[in-house]
């Protein structure tokens, strides 16, 4: 019994020591880089991450490993914020709703601007307002008219609470005088599934999430919430074209590292991502995913994020949007 306990203790000890051994430091990168996706697999952020993962290895000596940590975006992002700033933990999807929209709506456990260093912007994509193919609504005007006549709320599927899609749809409702009730799911894929089943009246989503359903004849698009039309949905008018003064930045998707990451590491990551973004095959893949590549370097991306956050704050203030 004594010997058994001793063996047990040694084994337990040994298992605690394992991580300490593997932490040797060499020229960056000396081991695989973890790319944290704070959403479920299959959504738009996850798709972009997996496309980057595929082309990253062409330009870096170490692979990128995608880690999904779902939880409304905040949990996974906070995991990156609190991780060691050594360049081995990156946040993929920087510029999402919870980075540039949510801070204007609720208290955040970290500062999305100060606690993260922008590495590069990869893509911007719009938010589309869609409805089931058999729905009675054929335009934004129909929605407003129905809502005024019936006085009933319009149930709307959105990916997460207080995200870019939630905000776009809520802002639309406020500006158009339509009673929109957003129902959050855990990610765009799940929201689209519920809408496809006809369980909600309308939904919002990124092109990569709704275009497959549009092609399959299950959805029709009513509007795009961007200042101009989205190249992946060229036939769909913007809200502005339909007389509603609401336009957002849609969803921005970039890469970030925790604050405190050494400058040379950021430069390496920025350079590698630039090469990935210039790769024609990567561009083609992203186009197929309806996420056009719109690269920006670290400094520019930082300025852009400040502007986008201010713009969202302005919309939220102007339309008096609250989310609880």
């Amino acid at each position: 019994m004594k010997r058994f306990t001793a063996v047990l203790a040694v084994m337990l000890l040994a298992s605690f020591l394992v991580p300490a051994v593997s932490m040797a430091a060499d020229a960056y990168p000396s081991k695989p880089v973890a790319g944290m996706v704070p959403m479920k697999p299959g959504g738009s952020t996850d798709l972009m991450a997996r496309a980057i993962e595929k082309y990253w290895i062409k330009y870096s000596s170490q692979p990128m490993v995608i880690v999904n940590k779902p939880g409304g975006g905040v949990v996974g992002t906070e995991g990156v914020v609190r991780s060691k700033p050594d360049g081995y933990t990156l946040y993929l999807g920087y510029g999402s709703g919870h980075d540039i929209v949510m801070p204007s709506l609720q208290k955040m456990p970290y500062d999305p601007q100060k606690d993260l260093i922008p590495v590069a912007r990869v893509s911007i994509h719009s938010v589309a307002i869609v409805t089931g193919a058999k729905s009675q609504f054929n335009s934004i005007k129909d929605l407003a008219a129905w809502s005024k006549k019936e006085g009933k709320p319009i149930t709307t599927a959105v990916s997460v609470k207080a995200g870019a899609v939630d905000l776009a749809l809520t802002a639309f409702g406020k500006a158009a005088g339509v009673n929109i009730v957003t129902v959050p799911f855990s990610g765009g894929a799940e929201a689209a599934t519920a809408l496809a089943g006809g369980h909600l009246m309308i939904g919002g989503g990124h092109p990569s999430e709704v275009i497959p359903h549009i092609k399959a004849g299950r959805f029709k698009a009513l509007a795009v919430v961007l200042p101009q039309r989205d190249p992946s949905l060229p036939d769909v008018p913007t809200l502005k074209e339909q007389g509603i003064d609401v336009a957002t930045w849609g969803s921005v998707k970039g890469v970030a590292a925790p604050a405190g990451t050494p400058k040379e590491v950021i430069q390496y990551l920025e350079g590698t991502l630039k090469k990935v973004c210039e790769d024609p095959e990567f561009r083609k893949t992203m186009e197929n995913l309806s996420q056009p590549v719109m690269y920006q370097g670290s400094e520019e991306f930082g300025k852009f994020l400040k502007q986008a956050t201010a713009d969202y704050a302005e919309i939220i203030k102007r339309l008096n949007i609250t989310i609880n």
């Binding site: 019994m1 058994f4 063996v7 047990l8 084994m11 337990l12 298992s15 605690f16 394992v18 991580p19 479920k40 697999p41 299959g42 996850d46 798709l47 997996r50 496309a51 595929k54 999904n68 940590k69 939880g71 409304g72 905040v74 949990v75 996974g76 906070e78 995991g79 609190r82 919870h98 609720q106 456990p109 709320p153 149930t155 609470k161 207080a162 009730v181 957003t182 129902v183 959050p184 799911f185 855990s186 894929a189 799940e190 689209a192 599934t193 519920a194 496809a196 089943g197 006809g198 369980h199 909600l200 990569s208 497959p212 359903h213 092609k215 399959a216 893949t285 197929n288 995913l289 609880n324």
Partner: protein
């Protein structure tokens, strides 16, 4: 193409492998194998590990193959069924499945309900599924995404069992030395044949529903088997139907969960979503046009699944004898190895030492449960289904503007609740009848 088949293979292969550790070590590798622990581990303790493993392998093979056959023939027809499950239907299904398994499985309904409530409470730690705010984390960063399922299951099942074993060290050693027949006997086969068949049917339909289909199918199968069994009192004591049914169900479910992906382009669970992403990046859009645009992918995946199932049977059956011998290994040797693996396992999930402490904490909790004669099964199952129940209920209420009528005004949801009500009233009537008819 090969990458997709590889990923698919890993997915349904793990569903197969989950039963082995559940039966031998009381360690459910994934949520759908929790139910297998209840009777499977009891069988192993009685020296019938071989029979349990054998029937699990055969049941899985039969169910997997029938599942794929069903998919080959009826995939498009069944796809619409998957979409008809919105938040209210998912809520009713999860609640009814959980209540059925909890009230019908253990020896005491009250204790089962207590465990279920605790499981639901544990599940509420971490992120609020609707507002995205963290709850009950008390400022502990590691708790913000909640407890991890594998750590919880390994703690209350595996470690709890070992801690309990330490208390009765010598007794445990004696109990495991008789191995008995390695293969299922004819009697076993006769008893589990129908269970496999029913499990397959339940699994096939439940698997199509996006989100949690496999877990619910194993629950429902267990409950159904107990309901139709000639000797329901054997359940929980090592009834072979309690292994055959749920194991068949979760394998049929893992086959049929490909249906929404291949025919509608809808990923039903996290593993399938990985395959979904891999296909999209290759420029292939899964959905109704997949059969026409990329027939080689559609039929390739299905063909690979037929072959994969045969391979799993061929690989697993010869191992049954070997695995069964494992129960002969003295407890004193086995226990430290299991502890080592559970610790490594829980650490490796997220690479944080915090999970090891929670593992040990749950282990001690599991020990306590055993001493107080509480079944850990309902706790773990409630923990798995808790987030789904909560999210779908709140989504439903948002949809209905706060009215609970939404759960009874939609046909599928109403049918599920009605079915449970009939079963519950029947059960209650039976208990009352027994109490008054038997002279005391």
């Amino acid at each position: 193409m090969t990458a997709i088949i590889l990923m698919a293979g890993i997915f349904y292969g793990s569903m197969y492998g989950g039963s082995t550790t559940s039966i031998l070590l009381n360690l459910p590798g994934e949520a759908a194998s929790v139910v297998t622990c209840i009777d499977g581990y009891k069988m192993a303790k009685k020296g019938r590990a071989g029979a349990a493993l054998g029937i699990a392998a055969i049941g899985s093979f039969v169910a997997g193959t029938i599942g794929i056959l069903g998919m080959t023939l009826f995939a498009p027809a069944i796809a619409g069924f998957a979409l008809s499950f919105g938040p209210p239907e998912k809520f009713s299904l999860a609640v009814v499945g959980l209540l059925m398994a909890v009230t019908l499985s253990g020896s005491s309904v009250t204790k089962g309900l207590v465990m279920m409530a605790m499981g639901l409470l544990l599940a509420s730690v971490g992120l609020d599924p609707i507002s995205g705010k963290t709850r009950f984390s008390f400022g502990v960063i590691e708790l913000q995404s909640g407890f991890d399922f594998v750590t919880l299951a390994m703690g209350v099942f595996g470690l709890g069992e070992i801690f309990a074993g330490l208390g009765s060290f010598i007794k445990a050693e004696v109990a495991t030395t008789k191995v008995g027949s390695v293969w299922p006997t004819l009697k076993d086969w006769a008893e589990s044949r129908m269970a496999i068949f029913r499990g397959t049917l339940i699994g096939f339909f439940a698997g199509v529903i996006p989100g949690g289909g496999a877990v619910i199918s194993s629950l429902v199968s267990f409950a159904v088997e107990k309901k139709v069994a000639k000797h329901p009192e054997e359940f929980g004591q090592g009834a072979i139907e309690g292994v055959a049914g749920p194991e068949s169900a979760n394998n049929a479910a893992s086959s049929s969960s490909f249906i929404p992906l291949l025919t509608l382009g809808i990923p039903g669970n996290a593993s399938i979503a990985m395959i979904f992403a891999a296909l999209l990046i290759k420029g292939i859009t899964p959905g109704p046009f997949l059969i026409q645009e990329h027939p080689e992918v559609f039929w390739g995946v299905i063909a690979s699944m037929y072959i994969g199932n045969v391979m799993l049977l061929v690989l697993n059956l010869p191992l049954v004898g070997l695995w069964a011998q494992l129960t002969r290994v003295p407890f004193g040797l086995m226990a430290p190895v299991i502890i080592l693996f559970t610790v490594i396992g829980s650490y490796s999930i997220q690479g944080q030492a915090f999970d090891i402490y929670t593992l040990i904490g749950f282990g001690l909790f599991g020990y306590l449960l055993r001493k107080l004669k509480f079944e850990p099964g309902p706790l773990v199952l409630a923990f798995v289904l808790g987030p789904m129940i909560e999210a779908s209920m709140r989504q439903s209420l948002l949809m209905s503007g706060g009215s609970f009528l939404i759960f009874v005004t939609r046909p599928i949801s109403l049918a599920l609740i009605g079915l449970f009500a009939v079963l519950a009233v029947g059960q209650a009537a039976l208990i009352v009848y027994k109490r008054f008819s038997t002279p005391t």
